[in-house]
Symmetry: C2
Subunit: 676 residues, 2 copies
């Protein structure tokens, strides 16, 4: 029996846990500067603060812990109340002028699942970018004003990643000047579109245009699916929600089956293609522009990867600073803080490093994306190909790493993390689709491989690769360096770590390319069946290296003023690299960059970093300033109240509304009383 805990926190009594107070005293850097950075800039953070003021004070927008026990129907109804309230407060701000920073607010108020999030982004973007001027004038204001509520209906039951496989048909009927939408097979059923299930009256339907007996491929069509007045499905559609999911249950992913639904010819979106009265089809403009819209979704997922991981860390690190287990500290009867276990820091330290690394990467990415969008106006496609490469690779690697990390943080909080009150279960479950949607993560890595192959081919021909791929030049003479490490300080040099990660990537790329060039088979067979498993680690190593480069360069180039903050960044950058080199180092031994004895020095370096970072964990992690009322976590609140709130919420939970549960008295009590 031990009961000699330092004072734990109490929200009720406004007492901050002694352990947490002590951790906060270690703050030795400008936390606000870091806060501005993790929120995507000073302006974003200011907007966020204004926004949270409203959120915290508004009785409808306020988050509640009861939400964690809501059914799907209750979650959706609750979120619709918030939508209505936001619309009332400032429809322009919340639904019409969204920008990249805006997506984060969604996260706070809707835990990432805004009822009209896809309407406001994908559907509105389609109208904005794919309509001709006339269509735009007719529809855009309707969509922005919530008169037309739309979903993006591309995926079918039988066709997900393979967009060109879509089977839905849109057949031009010359007689009536209409287009007839049909679902010819069961696999052609539109399946998965968010907000289709219950909440929208229009759909942007991707279907094969068939005119005069010829199939012109997949085009977007604006289709009304429910009645304006009573929201009942229109004739010619069968429609509904697709059911309960692993997570993201506040979203009404839906299905729709079309049966000879007729729409006017003018409802085909005509910015990049045209169908005339005679059924003649022609392409106009550069369809590449379509990609730039898709990119935005991926940039957001990359953004969320940093953000969601940081959120989980905020909960987990506060818990680990207060929760104690096992009195195993010499001469001290006090139990040890979880965060003081080396095994715990070996999880949380690298996770923080990854979260910050992803932040540096997305900061650069947003700049590139903005530049691209600006150029598009003048038909300048600039870095489109490069951005496609970066966003596919980063989306795949970051969402997977963050999902796994959130899961591990949840598990590292033991039972407390398993309870919904901690916020970690819903965080994980609602983050989970990110590894699938906007491109399955395995497919995304394969796509990202293409530009690597293109650039390495340049290098092999003695030409210069694009500067983003400068590290590919290493393949010519691997390893460049082969020095036997003699001290820990060497392994902590950023220059050394840079070369190590670049060499790892280069070796894997060369390893793949050698096989690729010597294997006798068709390209399809090589890429999908014979060499596919060499592609994934190659692209991952490349992404991890370029992310490191964003991180390392960003520390110096982003204009940070606080020297201590920069010191912490450098340590996290080192930790990122050493964690990588601990997990995957075969290539470095194979090319002789690592030799016998390296493991010992890396292990020492890693431990030294963990010790240096340990005291700063709370000040660093708490840079993500999320008020308790928005965080809504029983174990991650700012008071370090890890017990009182947990017990109080438990007491008020749904199953405790009555003392016995339905069924017990009729089914089991007779057995207990010997009557059965």
């Amino acid at each position: 029996m031990q009961n000699i805990l330092p004072k734990t926190g109490s929200i009720k009594d406004k007492v901050v846990a002694e352990d947490l107070l002590a951790e906060r005293k270690n703050l030795n850097f400008d936390q606000l500067e870091l806060t501005n950075f993790v929120f995507g800039g000073e302006e974003n953070y200011k907007n966020y603060q204004e926004w949270t003021k409203i959120l915290e004070s508004d009785p409808i927008l306020h988050n509640h812990h009861e939400f964690y026990e809501f059914t799907r129907e209750e979650q959706i109804e609750h979120n619709l109340q918030k939508v209505k309230r936001m619309y009332e407060i400032d429809k322009k701000k919340y639904f019409q002028d969204y920008s990249e920073g805006y997506f984060q607010w969604y996260y706070y108020i809707f835990k990432g699942i805004s009822p009209y999030g896809l309407h406001s982004t994908m559907f509105v973007s389609c109208i904005d970018c794919l309509s001709d001027d006339e269509q735009r004038a007719k529809w855009l204001h309707m969509a922005k004003d919530f008169k037309m509520l739309g979903c993006y209906a591309q995926t079918e039951l039988g066709h997900g990643s393979n967009v060109t496989g879509v089977e839905t048909t849109a057949t031009f009927d010359k007689q009536t000047d209409e287009i007839i939408i049909n679902t010819p097979t069961i696999t052609a059923t539109k399946f998965w579109p968010g907000e289709l299930g219950k909440l929208t009256n229009f759909a942007m339907v991707y279907a094969n245009l068939i005119s005069n007996g010829k199939n012109y491929g997949v085009q977007p069509f604006l289709v009304q699916i429910r009645d304006f007045e009573n929201h009942q499905p229109v004739q010619g559609v069968e429609i509904g929600d697709i059911g309960s999911k692993f997570g993201f249950n506040g979203k009404d992913n839906g299905f729709i089956i079309f049966n000879n639904l007729r729409i006017p010819r003018g409802n085909m979106l005509q910015r990049f293609s045209e169908l005339d009265r005679e059924g003649n089809f022609k392409v106009k403009g550069n369809q590449k522009a379509l990609f730039s819209v898709m990119l935005m979704g991926r940039v957001q997922l990359i953004n969320f990867s940093s953000f969601g991981l940081h959120w989980a860390l905020l909960v987990g690190t506060r818990y680990a600073a207060v929760r104690r287990q096992f009195a195993n500290q010499e001469g001290d009867k006090l139990e040890r803080k979880l965060l003081d276990y080396q095994t715990h820091m070996m999880k949380y330290g690298p996770f923080l490093a990854y979260s910050i690394a992803f932040r540096f990467a997305v900061t650069d990415l947003i700049k590139m994306h903005k530049k691209l969008l600006a150029g598009l106006v003048n038909n300048d496609f600039g870095n489109l190909e490069l951005l496609h490469h970066i966003t596919s690779g980063y989306k795949s690697v970051f969402t997977t790493l963050s999902y796994d990390a959130i899961d591990e943080i949840r598990q590292s909080c033991g039972g407390a993390g398993f309870l919904s009150w901690s916020s970690l279960p819903s965080l994980q479950q609602d983050f989970a689709p990110n590894t699938t949607f906007e491109g399955d993560n395995t497919v995304m890595l394969q796509q990202a491989a293409r530009l690597i192959m293109k650039n390495v081919t340049l290098v092999m021909k003695g030409k210069k690769p694009h500067e983003f791929f400068a590290h590919l030049e290493l393949i010519k003479d691997l390893p460049v360096a082969n020095k036997t490490l003699s001290s820990v300080s060497e392994v902590l040099e950023l220059e050394y770590l840079d070369l190590a990660l670049a060499t790892r990537a280069a070796f894997k790329i060369r390893f793949f390319m050698e096989k690729y060039m010597t294997t006798e088979a068709t390209e399809n067979e090589k890429l999908n069946s014979l060499l596919a498993i060499d592609i994934l680690p190659m692209v991952k190593a490349h992404v991890m290296y370029t992310t490191f480069r964003h991180f390392r360069q960003g520390i110096e180039s982003n204009g940070f003023k606080c020297e201590n903050l920069k010191k912490h960044f450098r340590n996290l950058c080192r930790l990122y690299a050493l964690n990588e080199l601990t997990q995957d180092n075969q290539s470095l031994y194979e090319c002789g960059f690592f030799t016998q004895g390296t493991m010992k020095i890396i292990s020492q370096g890693l431990k030294q970093l963990l010790q240096e970072i340990r005291p700063h964990m709370i000040p660093l992690v708490e840079s993500l300033r999320i008020p308790d009322s928005i965080l809504v976590s029983s174990i991650g609140n700012s008071y370090g109240d890890i017990y009182e709130t947990q017990l109080e919420w438990a007491k008020g939970s749904r199953l405790n509304k009555s003392t016995t549960i339905k069924g017990f008295k009729e089914l089991i009590l007779p057995i207990v009383n010997g009557k059965l």
Copy 2:
């Protein structure tokens, strides 16, 4: 647009998918022999078949896909109906004579969450093993007859893994000859016990016995918590369910706060200790016996690790054999089967190998455990220490690997796996607590380290280790072999793979021990703070090696008759090893066992194995013969019906009971209609 799919399956029309039929034709071994093995023996499989006949035909015991959308209350009520029905059919068989094989039936009928599973195991075992003869005579039949329904109340809000930290008090009152149970602090609240929340009327409470002013440590007390007649909480307790969780929501994990609750002195369980009328406490017998009860729980989790992973594979592999995506096969417009992608096989092949490896390990383990239990009767504690080592290490490694694998299989089914209908979400979420309960997985690895350290110390002193640790002798002269591989056939020799995995484990053990012996710090600091992160990979490598040994030896020693089956086993055993050596090989380069060029040969060997195993995936995986009505998966049924059932269940889902969702008409429609 592509619509040239081979005929997919249809349960409705009793049509098996062409793709699945073709895969089944590859069967070239005695599948029943494998089936018997994966079910834990011929007798187990026969029992299971009888059992499933009842399950399939009984209208109450039958599984329903609607269960996936049930609320917690509905799930529990539904399961109580099943309990009542089982009690009616054969209470002796289902609730009184449980054995190791029995636990699997639970899995089929309750998806692992039996309402009285803990009552029937932990609670009844405590009475059976910890009561003296008089107590046993009084209570055991009551518990087995469901008159007394009990939970196991050990964990507290503040004390999970650290059992000795329990704060609840049981104070002897000499005047009344009673014991007073109290919850002195908030952290002393009993929190988490399953079946405490709603379903039991007794609790086995672990509390500090205080008598005559002295604390005698934690003892078990039988405490009535609810009334026999009306099931209301007794006076002196506050009690309830703790709320919604990441998974396992059909279980009423509960909390209880004691306020001067009095029980008779005779309710302290007295087989191993005694409290007399004067309050004198004395220990009797060998308390080691307690551990043997705890071991059973871990053996079951190890068992489930093989079983749960195999279940997920059954769903995922059938889906991957029918689902096609991307027409990238040369000269073929047909899209490629997921299972024909090398990246997919690189997941599923090793997962199958792990599932079978775990099955071999648990087969040996159950034998050892039975021998131990038999010996205990004569106070022979035989291999108790070794079994503690094995069960902690295996429980930790296997549950983590299987949880991660189930998650990855779910993700690899894309959207279809994200939908609850697939069965994969609940499988993952309900499997999730296994990494935490019965011992947190990090703590378990640390515990398993002790016996390794003890044996390696013997080796270092020139003595022989226990035969289970024979591979530790390698540390004396690492590496034993250092041959440069010249062909793929060498890397596929089981002898070579055995040595490689043993060497990897031995190197990590030596690496840790060298630091351990030269680091100047207290043992606690070394084990928890300075060297802790070296312990985890060391224990894991040791577990992965000994599991390989069970696998390799078991193929020859388990009396398998079918030579082709043994060939498949050997290939899976190789695949297990090569996958391990691909994922973690630093130690082997460090000690010179691997050299430059090894990576290429291992990669070739791995690919060759994947190709060899590929055609046999369906016949191998389908050895887990679970009828569709028990599996209840929209994408993993035996017909390869991956579309019709999915769409049909979607159509009938809960949100489709009405065409519009609650809240929409009041909140959003006025906006659409311009009235807001």
